[in-house]
Symmetry: C2
Subunit: 307 residues, 2 copies
């Protein structure tokens, strides 16, 4: 067993942080780490928090931590921000911790950068969740700092997705309508003490009214803490209620993860085989001379790669 | 030969428009069209116009058309806008034509939507250019309506890239700095009669000063037409000067196109083979029971696909 795996299974925070960085960067070691911990995973539940920038997701997550701990969960937080130049978790951790007076020993927080292809975020996130899961964290809150495609991607990796809006970002509701009304298991109007909150609440009800899963809408104020306990209790209830469907959901997630991994390996291998294939450059020459067309050339090269 | 190919080679505008829609949508027929016209391509030159929204790219392209025609080119325009819900070319064509009193018979204009993956734009655009090339258009102006990654992608497909800024969008210069200073063969300050134009001109000179290709910077006003003739002449000169490097550039473009096509075929085929592979679902079951880890499962499935 790798020392880092031994460390993270023993709950050593430095080993945990390092292991998450390794999977976040898709370093070669990540493969061996996941292989060694995989059989110890499958217990943690995950909740994603998504929504427009400025909706107060970090503050809300900060207030939810002690409420979820009070319900018996060992809580970890992952913030996914592919646009951030900062890797590692100092900034997120410090910010949330300072605002909420949290006990450093009881919660683990980490930012992930997961740059690169869209599919790269899923891969890093799934593996970071596995590491926290193996280390004994039972509830992992995933804050998405990105937007659009990323949020849909994250919603496919977590068990429950919470979409957060505020009256301030009310004009964004229409803009994000198409994407975000499809992915939410719960909707939250944060800063519910502000003017415009009731109107926003009704707008959200309208937007999600036609969707099949009929998600609940909550009013909270991360600032005053109002409504946060009720939200934590609903998350707990939903996680337990939906338990029966999790097996199928997990199977679907594993299926798509396995497909992604195989296709990415196949692409890498095909790319290497092409570079080594004399015919490839020969066909480029023929293309330049118009002696063959691109489809015919690609067909022949692709056919040569498979059994 | 397909009737549509016969039509477009004869310069029939309806056949041309339909063929471009077919490659834009990546319809099955596009393969056969490209196969049939490929040997007739390779004469057209392409110039991309990119830059922040509101920089006046359409107006500039509109003014450039008669100037380039005066220099002897048969001109076509492609506007690439993956965010547009409108396919087909009515809007672009009408707008540019009305503003510039252009002769419908002498210029061909078309919008492309090219939705989907980033690589999809390159593929559609390369094939649309081939169709116009085979139809006898010697100069194809490509207007990019998107931003960021898309502009870099388009710059790899065209022979020359022109980056357009205006004083109005001056605050965007810093934002787009990283991307756009790398791709331009020419820079244009449009609306050069506005206050702020000289400062913008100097900023651009500063930004591109360190780049290897030392592109020229032009001041034009698409509104009054000032400087547009000089820009057209510079484009013409650059296209002719750079001619000697085009063979290598074309080879590089063909090489990356061929790689993209092969990898996309390989991915499609691998995806189908996976769906048919009993082992795939067996491994998903084993993963769910933690009897195997994802890397071991993916390795074995991927290995089974190759010769």
């Amino acid at each position: 067993m790798l020392p880092i795996v031994k460390g993270l299974l023993a709950g050593e925070r430095r080993a945990l942080a390092k292991a998450i960085s390794i999977v976040d960067n898709d370093d070669p070691e990540s493969r061996e780490i996941i292989k060694q911990i995989f059989s110890k995973t499958g217990k943690a539940k995950t909740v994603g928090f998504t929504g427009p920038g400025g909706a107060g997701k970090s503050s809300l997550v900060g207030k939810l931590i002690p409420e979820c701990q009070a319900l018996g969960y060992r809580v970890a937080v992952l913030a996914v921000d592919p646009t951030s130049p900062i890797t590692g978790g100092a900034i997120l951790g410090d910010r949330v911790r300072m605002q909420n007076n949290l006990d450093d020993e009881k919660v683990f927080m980490r930012s992930m950068a997961s740059r690169g292809a869209v599919g790269g975020v899923s891969k890093s996130l799934r593996n970071a969740i596995r590491i926290l899961d193996a280390a004994g964290y039972g509830l992992i809150l995933v804050e998405s700092v990105g937007a659009g495609q990323l949020e849909v991607e994250i919603s496919r990796v977590v068990d429950l997705t919470t979409v957060v809006f505020t009256p301030h970002t009310g004009d964004n509701v229409q803009a994000v309508k198409a994407g975000l009304t499809e992915i939410g298991d719960m909707y939250v109007v944060n800063k519910s003490d502000l003017e415009g909150a009731p109107a926003l609440y009704n707008t959200i009800l309208d937007l999600i009214g036609d969707t099949e899963r009929k998600p609940a809408v909550f009013k909270v104020s991360a600032k005053t803490g109002k409504g946060v306990r009720e939200l934590a209790k609903s998350i707990d209830r939903l996680l337990k209620e939906k338990n029966i469907n999790y097996k199928e959901r997990e199977r679907n997630m594993l299926e798509s993860e396995l497909r992604d991994m195989v296709l990415s390996m196949v692409e890498k291998k095909a790319s290497l085989m092409l570079a080594d294939n004399g015919k490839y450059l020969e066909f480029v020459e023929k293309l330049a001379k118009k002696e063959i067309d691109p489809y015919a050339a690609a067909d022949e090269l692709a056919a040569g790669l498979f059994r």
